[in-house]
């Protein structure tokens, strides 16, 4: 059997089998936890405690999903996560592009120092600022609030850096021409800069949304009420509650995890290209 791939390698017989085997093993290794998730979530508790476990449940059931949905307010967690991530993504996009534009296309006193100050924050691990941030939020009454959760993450230096890089590739003549035409500065930002950086905006949006959706440590510190919890926090609390009660109900727990993870996984399968670009920023020109 002969297979030709894009590079026009001609693989003969035995090598095909070897290569295919390796592909299968690697793919399987990466996917096994997901397969386990689906399998476990569909199992009745009796089957859960059977040794050995079967991959395909003998009596698949959907009741774990309904049980976990009722056991914790996942609907509320979803809404919170959606709200928080959307706000943070919008904010990040806006401020990063605005500031990145200024650093990229303007010369003004102190711009080098300012950029350095902003970039410098990337060096600081969150552990250093999480303690004082919590104290600050608590002192102004923002502990256990949406504002306390959202505000510290509204702008990222990474976003500013990225936008500055990307906007650098927009020809200055375009901007100068608009100025000569009498365009206001904000107008230039809105009408010229933004449309020309759509790929970078999309990538940063996906990246920011994904990262903020999965954020655990800060919500864990700042949020104590159930109805403000985001998905990661809600799932973690659910897990510790289940574990505390010593219920060996892994099927319910895994079903809950699946509920928590499903939207992102589905979004990924449809928007894969954008996800990869967003997380790695490869393939972006500029």
């Amino acid at each position: 059997m002969i297979i030709k791939n894009k590079k026009n390698f001609v693989l003969k017989g035995g090598k095909v089998i070897l290569v295919s085997a390796i592909i299968l093993v690697l793919t399987f290794t990466m996917l096994i936890p997901f397969i386990t998730m689906i399998s476990t979530a569909l199992k009745e508790t009796k089957e859960l405690l059977a040794v050995p476990q079967t991959m395909i449940p003998r009596h698949p059931t959907l009741e774990n999903f309904s049980t976990s949905w009722q056991a914790a307010p996942f609907g509320r967690y979803y809404i919170n996560s959606l709200f928080v991530s959307s706000v943070l993504t919008a904010s990040c996009l806006f401020f990063s592009s605005l500031t990145g534009y200024a650093f990229s296309k303007f010369r003004f006193r102190g711009h080098k120092l300012m950029f350095f100050l902003i970039l410098g924050t990337m060096m600081v691990p969150f552990q250093v600022i999480m303690i004082p941030l919590y104290v600050m939020m608590a002192k102004i009454g923002w502990a256990d609030t949406y504002q306390g959760l959202i505000v510290p993450s509204m702008i990222t230096s990474f976003g500013v850096f990225l936008m500055r890089q990307y906007i650098g590739s927009i020809p200055g003549e375009l901007i100068d021409a608009a100025r000569i035409d009498g365009c206001g500065e904000l107008h230039i930002y809105w009408g010229i800069i933004l449309p020309n950086i759509k790929p970078a905006l999309a990538a940063l949006a996906i990246y920011t949304f994904t990262v903020t959706w999965d954020e655990f440590l800060w919500p864990f510190i700042i949020i104590s009420s159930t109805n403000l919890r985001t998905i990661p926090l809600g799932l973690a609390m659910f897990e510790s509650r289940v574990e505390m009660m010593q219920m060996l109900t892994w099927n319910i727990l895994i079903a809950a995890s699946l509920i928590a993870m499903l939207p992102v996984l589905v979004a990924f399968l449809f928007l894969q290209k954008y996800f990869v670009r967003g997380m790695t920023f490869t393939g972006l020109k500029g």
Binding site: P33, A102, F103, L117, I118, I129, I131, E185, L186, M279
Partner: protein
């Protein structure tokens, strides 16, 4: 008098700068001050001078253990990720379109919920019912205690963490590999170079900046690791997986020792900084 252009520039940048001053620089200063005090948020702060730092290094071994664990974790994490993603990327590079399903499979863990994945791995590592011991049993190995025993907990956490993240670096290394011009290989092949020589003299040197980038990034990430370890073991059993991030969290938010927690955080900060600096210097010098 500043013109409208410059005015706009300040208008665009000052809010952001102000944000970072309030969210980063003031807290950093605050944390530094706190680290020299004993403070539990309620009540007043007591100035201690260097005592927090002294205690961390001499009287309470907890943080030293945490630092040891952090290095252990990070080392295993980096080695596992770099080696596996390098091999997988090199393999996928040869596959062309056949590699697409594998690329997707690699990336799926990267964008999945860290908490969710940690929970699944907890189940996989379950000694009696979990998949890990079941699969290993088929080839006559095990059973292992995985997360339940101090001896195996760290490696378990490392494996799960590396599995989750490596796909990202597969893609990054793949991009690096694909940037190497085919012409280089062609020329060397004409000169009769073997596969190994091709790898050593063309691939490795040209890919090295990317590999270095990956090493530095993954190291920084490993040193700060919190969520997956916290969910899987809470730092246990005992102190087996108590890494710096967990120790800091515990000290500040469970025992309300804000001062000591801040001191620990600063030590971690300096560690990350110094390590990254030396990594970049050491590895950069090997490219010459």
């Amino acid at each position: 008098m500043i013109d409208s252009k410059t005015r706009a520039a300040y208008f665009f940048t000052l809010p952001t700068l102000l944000f970072f001053v309030i969210i980063f620089y003031i807290p950093i200063g605050f944390a530094a001050i706190m680290s020299f005090h004993r403070w539990s948020v309620l009540g007043s702060a007591k100035f201690l001078g260097w005592r927090n730092y002294e205690e961390i290094f001499t009287r309470s071994p907890i943080f030293l253990i945490a630092l040891k664990n952090t290095f252990l974790f990070t080392f295993g994490y980096v080695v596992l990720i770099v080696i596996s993603s390098l091999f997988v990327a090199a393999f996928i590079n040869k596959l062309g379109r056949l590699g697409i399903p594998l690329k997707t499979a690699c990336f799926l863990p990267v964008i999945s919920s860290m908490v969710g994945i940690s929970i699944v791995w907890k189940w996989i590592y379950q000694p009696h019912f979990g998949l890990a011991n079941q699969l290993l049993g088929y080839i006559g190995l095990g059973p292992f205690s995985w997360l339940m025993s101090p001896a195996t907990a760290m490696i378990s956490v490392i494996i799960a963490s590396a599995w989750k993240r490596m796909g990202l670096y597969v893609i990054i290394l793949l991009a690096g590999l694909q940037n190497i011009p085919e012409a280089q290989y062609e020329a060397a092949k004409i000169d009769g170079a073997s596969k190994f020589q091709l790898f050593r003299h063309i691939t490795l040197p040209l890919l090295w900046p990317v590999i270095l980038f990956v090493i530095v990034i993954v190291t920084i990430r490993g040193l700060r690791a919190f969520t997956q370890i916290f969910i899987m073991t809470r730092g246990g059993p005992g102190n087996a997986t108590r890494v710096a991030a967990i120790a800091i969290y515990h000290t500040a938010f469970r025992t309300f020792q804000m001062g000591k927690g801040s001191a620990m955080a600063f030590i971690l900060f300096i560690l990350i900084f110094v390590l990254s600096y030396f990594q970049i210097r050491f590895f950069s010098s090997t490219t010459d």
